[in-house]
Amino acid sequence: MIEVSGLQVRLQEKTLLTDISFSLTAGHYLVVVGPNGAGKSSLLKAMMGIIDKADGEILFHDQPLSTYSQRELARLVSYVPQSSGRQLPFAVEDFLKMSRYAHHSALSEWQPDDQEAVEDALRITNTSQFRQRQMTTLSGGESQRVMIAAALAQQTPMMLLDEPTSYLDPHHQVEVHRVIARLNEQLGITVIEVSHDINHAGQKGREVLALADGQAVWQGPGEIFLEQGRLQRLYQQDFVFVTHPRSGRTIALADPL
């Protein structure tokens, strides 16, 4: 469903991505990992058409990205940016309604199925209770769920999320990841998530794409991602591995020694 080949992004003499190739089947959950500055965000932005000067090919449904209009693309892919939505001057529900833009023309009226999409998005992300609130009054965790809800209101088969849990406390990290898992498992949405949480990436049912220096260095299933040599090469850091006492999963911890 998604096929990226030879993707290259340069921005003013600076190469952000070199020769990235990977593919992803519909309904899968891909976690993009890698050290800071590896080009993870640039990859998502290139796929969303935010960075529009990219060489190489990005195919959605066997069709090059460039053949889609921005509006068509927004009915196919939604995006949750890295920055939080807490500076946005809108009420939550209004922001979700605005996110239905791609389903409308300049003259079309608000339809019942638009409202339904908004209601579903609020319900699935558990954000209905602050639909009237101004975005500026939300906490970090609430705001992140609203940003996901807004992307969800677009009703796209694919969603790109840029570090959706980076600035959240452990409880809200779990909660946001639970929401994303629900989108993927219950709604069948193809998810590509950029994350620094290697233990979140290294799970059964996830695929992992590791980027370093703008290059794709590894792609494979989550359950074999957590491996000493691989993590060492990726992050220039030693790790120790422990077994989670209840789930039995392998957990990697950065070893400060």
Binding site: L11, Q12, K45, M48, G49, I50, D52, S69, Q70, R71, E72, L73, A74, R75, V77, S78, Y79, P81, S83, G85, L88, P89, F90, D94, F95, M98, S99, Y101, A102, H104, A106, A151, Q154
Partner: protein, 320 residues
């Protein structure tokens, strides 16, 4: 109060201002025939012209504030009006007398000057991948200075008559307006307002930032170029006819957002009406304050706008 009730109330108030403004200071004139002539041939077109110009200035300011996500970013603070002024001053200096598609040389000069200025400011702001609003505003200040000195240069080279004309016109005033200039300006402002209404959903999303707007399906580049073109045309036409009237585009849309909220489907008609009414009020004040002489209206709006700018600046610093 609902948004439509607020808009209705504002419309009624503005209509009242429009109806009353032409009569202000009229009772001093004894002769009925002269009074009638002043009312119908001078005051009425001037009031209507003030409405159209004020609406246009306020709408252009609103678009810039939305596009750059900051209340301080307007055609005036970003040097676009200075570019337009220079373009217009240059045509006066060169004595150009061409016209294209019904636009006279001064309007065309101002339009081109505005386009050059906005392309320049926007180009600079895009040099770095992520630009700050401070960079943008400072680029605007530098552009203003640059065009102002070019205007001074033009003025210096001009003869005393042209020089005075340029100076007087730079202060911004509506005293020259008659039905002729009203008919010249009305289609341009109506066209611009139409484009903005057509793009109100896009303007809403642009307020959320370019990345979100693009990911929601807005062809941001195309929308931005269209809006640059439209605002340049509108600011250019207004500047050509009545000089750079500052700060209307900053104060009016900001106050309108406080009144009616950020949704452009409501904000555009509110800004249009409030901007028109506001400039009529300022112009009436300018006529009365040292009557029987009158002040250029640009002095009044700038006297109000300067402190307003500082208030916005202090407020945004505090919340940041």
């Amino acid at each position: 109060m609902t948004a439509s009730a607020k808009l209705t109330l504002l419309s009624v108030l503005t209509l009242a201002i429009m109806l009353l403004a032409p009569f202000a200071g009229l009772s001093d004139i004894a002769d009925a025939a002269i009074r009638e002539h002043i009312l119908y041939d001078i005051r009425l077109p001037r009031t209507l012209f003030a409405f159209v110009a004020g609406a246009g200035l306020a709408l252009c300011g609103m678009v810039f504030q939305a596009m750059f996500h900051n209340p301080l970013a307007t055609p005036f603070t970003l040097g676009v009006a200075s570019g337009a002024s220079f373009g217009a001053a240059l045509t006066v200096f060169l004595g150009l007398n061409v016209s294209l598609l019904g636009f006279d040389a001064t309007t065309l000069g101002a339009f081109i000057g505005a386009l050059v200025a906005i392309s320049f400011v926007y180009g600079i702001s895009r040099l770095h991948y992520s630009f700050s609003i401070e960079t943008l505003l400072l680029t605007g200040v530098a552009t203003s200075f640059f065009f102002s000195s070019l205007i001074l240069f033009t003025q210096y080279l001009s003869n005393i008559n042209d020089s005075f004309r340029i100076l007087r016109w730079l202060m911004g005033g509506l005293s020259i307006s008659g039905y002729q200039s009203l008919l010249q300006l009305l289609p341009i402002v109506a066209f611009s307002a139409g484009i903005m209404i057509w793009l109100s959903r896009e303007l809403n999303l642009l307020m959320a930032g370019d990345e979100i707007a693009i990911s929601r399906g807005v062809a941001v580049k195309r929308v931005r170029y269209l809006l640059f073109f439209t605002t340049s045309l509108c600011v250019g036409a207004i500047v050509a006819l009545c000089g750079p009237i500052g700060f209307v585009g900053m104060m009016v849309p900001h106050i309108c957002r406080l009144i009616i909220g950020t949704d452009h489907r409501w904000l555009i008609p509110t800004t249009l009406i409030f901007g028109g009414g506001f400039l009529i009020l300022c112009d009436t004040l300018a006529r009365l304050v040292i009557a029987p002489a009158e002040l250029p209206v640009g002095i009044i709006t700038t006297l109000l706008g300067g402190p307003f700018f500082l208030w916005l600046l202090v407020r945004s610093r505090r919340s940041a």
